[in-house]
Subunit: 139 residues, 2 copies
């Protein structure tokens, strides 16, 4: 993705495209699966951790990326391919491989709906399946 495209997407989502945010969004929009703050630190070695942390928070607040918990001990993120216009219907499942510790985005696997009790109001869903991925199973 070009810097220009990044800026446009961010502006449409109400995020001011600062240098760190562009750097962050450009880097993560090229990743196919999930990543942690630590992963991003390694990817962008010369950028400060707390700046990246704040960039991720901003992007997450404006729904350009999603945060999810996979039990690995660190919060994972993935880019929202609907550029901030995600409805609950469009959330995809994630798969955590217990062997290689990678968390996949299952783009084609939409989160199935559950029935909430009376009076409960859902905002988002964290759905992570754990097991062995196809790569590790082959090996």
């Amino acid at each position: 993705m070009t810097v220009k495209e990044c800026c446009e997407i961010m502006e449409r989502a109400g995020v001011k495209p600062t240098s760190i945010r562009i750097l962050t969004y450009k880097a993560v929009s090229e990743l196919h699966d999930t990543f942690s703050l630590g992963d991003l630190e390694n990817l962008l070695e010369d950028v400060d951790k707390s700046s990246l942390f704040r960039a991720l928070r901003t992007l997450s607040d404006h729904h350009l990326i999603h945060a999810l918990e996979d039990g690995s001990g660190s919060v994972k993120y993935c880019v929202c391919h609907n550029h901030g216009a995600c409805t609950e219907e469009e959330h995809h499942c994630h798969f955590f491989c217990e062997q290689c510790k990678k968390t996949y985005c299952l783009e084609d696997c939409v989160v199935p709906k559950a029935n909430l009790p009376q009076g409960f109001e859902a905002h988002e869903v964290n759905y992570v399946i754990k097991g062995i991925c196809s790569n590790c199973k082959k090996a």
Copy 2:
């Protein structure tokens, strides 16, 4: 639950019922919703943190309790009411209230199945719905 019942359940699950484990299992089997290691520390003030941590790990390893991630920053646990004989079908959903920060067990809400891609093997599912609970909504 009596100490005797706790011991029986643990033994059936292949867990040697030591003092800390009995204390832990008895305490948590009386809780209706989820709890963290920290919650348990507060509940059993005179017991060491790492002993509780190890007891929870042992109980979890033998499926007497389940661990789940709700994005609160600490791992939550809940007792398995099938006493270690939980199949994937029986896993219930959890609900994290963004206001009161409580994580409910939705006992009557079974985790809906998702379709995995070819070659992926599921072992367990972490399904946490986030939103506002009925108590907080009323207020």
